[in-house]
């Protein structure tokens, strides 16, 4: 699993990247009450706003970590946004993407580096 400075994680699965937010990010957001996911098939560029997460108090954008195509979204989050707090690095993955430039993964952190990053 790789981690970004935007507090997202990426996990490779069957040639695609599964993306979600980290436990640290979920803790910072507080109780998540709404998740808006992108359409499957959308082509995105790195740093495009792809997911909106609302906690009780505020809305936050989740950015595309790399260029690529959204192949699948975790639509169970729409009806059950609280999963983001319960299991952010497991069941509450947000979307899967086919990445167009693998070299964009080079800067991402491994778990130890990410733990150090969040202090």
């Amino acid at each position: 699993m790789k981690f970004t400075e935007e507090h997202e994680w990426l996990r490779e699965e069957d040639g695609e990247m599964v993306v979600g937010i980290t436990i640290h990010a979920a803790e910072q957001l507080g109780d998540v009450v709404f998740v808006e996911l992108p359409d499957e098939g959308t082509t995105v560029s790195k740093d495009d706003e792809v997911v909106v997460i609302e906690s009780v108090k505020a809305a936050s954008d989740i950015l595309a970590p790399v260029d690529g195509e959204i192949t699948e979204v975790n639509s169970t989050l729409t009806d059950n946004p609280g999963m983001v707090n319960d299991d952010p690095q497991g069941e509450a993955w947000m979307f899967k993407m086919k990445i167009s430039d693998a070299s964009q993964m080079d800067d991402f952190m491994d778990e130890a580096a990410y733990q150090k990053f969040i202090g």
């Binding site: 507080g30 109780d31 009450v33 709404f34 808006e36 909106v52 609302e54 906690s55 009780v56 108090k57 809305a59 729409t78 946004p81």
Partner: protein, 374 residues
């Protein structure tokens, strides 16, 4: 927190693991480890303790109750003179344009008036009172007192266990109580829609009182986050969002707070800032009104969301002034201002969120029925 004030409970908040944020010049707890959602639900199910010591507490005193009450009536459109000893009322300062300068609670304690104002407005409020009431009325800020609210269906049991006289108090009564040897002024009121008390206590004894209350199983500390969602579900205004210097009490749907005696035809009609405008609006109505708004989907509609009367094109009819997720409603709730023709309960509107128009309905306030002890 260089320039921030700390309340008497600051150390307690930190020791309870609160996330502290700047609010109206104070470092205040926005949430505790329980989190906003569970804090909110706990308050509606049992009892929540809130530090509201950042609010301004002021005593007005003069030669007699009548002198104090009549002087205060020159600043607010409320019946102050008719307030019985030991009773409290909601009110607001108005300006010459009929706008609301701040909202407040005022209570009669013998011949004195005890006024509680919003933290962000307290300096201006005190200056307004000094300028408007001197020299006959003395304005004293009680900077050495803290304010603790205990709210929720179990609040009365908790307080009555410490002083049985609390059980006898009705909604909007204020009385001296002895809570475990600490002499307090407690009013049966609050900002959550629940039964409960707002307790004014000497700052030096505030932490001891808070600890004694928190020691009860029913009581959990509640931060500003849940305070906001609780008051929004209860349909209560946040000054600066839902009412301000540019909104009148009639636009703000606060007509109920202006007693008959101060309205046209009343024994002490008018005589407060903006009276001609406000009395005229009470008689002839206004072009826009504060209403409850219930988004139909799951997406919260927050402050600033613009409202339209159609899913596409159409006419802009209003704006959201407070919006969030309501944990008890289990969905988004909001309030805002809409033009009069769009203000009937049940009217379908659309709010523009991130470029998309999402449906919502004008709804009755409060969203959660009040649970006061009448």
């Amino acid at each position: 927190m260089d320039d921030l004030h700390a309340t008497a409970l600051y150390d307690l908040h930190v020791s309870l693991g609160a996330k502290m944020v700047p609010f109206a010049g104070y470092s205040m707890p926005v949430q505790y480890p329980l989190g906003v959602m569970k804090e909110h639900l706990h308050c509606r199910a049992a009892a929540g303790l809130f530090d509201v010591s950042h609010m301004g507490q002021v005593i007005l005193s003069g030669a007699s109750w009548e002198a104090v009450a009549l002087a205060f009536e020159t600043l607010v459109p409320m019946d102050v003179l008719g307030l019985e000893d030991g009773r409290q009322r909601y009110g607001f300062f108005t300006n010459d344009a009929g706008g609301i300068e701040d909202d407040l609670m005022f209570a009669r304690r013998g011949d004195d008036l005890f006024v509680v104002v919003n933290a962000a407005c307290k300096e201006a409020d005190i200056a307004r009172m000094r300028a408007g009431l001197a020299p006959d009325v003395t304005v004293t800020e009680l900077a050495d007192r803290a304010l603790i609210a205990l709210q929720g269906p179990k609040a009365a049991d908790v307080v009555a266990e410490m002083d049985p006289r609390a059980a006898e108090m009705a909604f909007m009564d204020i009385a001296d109580l002895d809570l475990g040897g600490i002499a307090v002024w407690a009013s049966r009121s609050g900002y959550t829609g629940e039964d409960g008390f707002e307790i004014s206590v000497p700052a030096s004894q505030a932490e001891a009182l808070a600890q004694a209350l928190l020691a009860k199983d029913e009581v959990a500390p509640i931060g500003l986050g849940a305070r906001d969602s609780l008051r929004l579900e209860a349909g209560l205004c946040l000054y600066g969002n839902d009412i301000d210097a540019g909104t009148t009490p009639v636009e703000g749907a606060l007509n109920w707070a202006i007693q008959k005696v101060r309205r046209s035809g009343g024994a002490r009609a008018g005589g407060f800032p903006g009276a001609s405008i406000i009395l005229d609006q009470l008689a002839s109505g206004v072009g826009r009104k504060r209403v409850g708004l219930l988004p139909q989907g799951r997406a919260p509609m927050r402050e600033g969301v613009v409202l339209f009367d159609a899913a596409e094109a159409g006419r802009e009819v209003g704006v959201v002034t407070s919006g969030s997720f309501g944990p008890t409603v289990a969905g988004p709730v909001a309030m805002g201002y809409v033009s009069k023709d769009a203000s009937s309960v049940g009217t379908s509107l659309w709010g523009e969120v991130r470029g998309k128009r999402l449906p919502l309905t004008v709804a009755k306030l409060p969203f959660v029925a009040a649970n006061f002890k009448r």
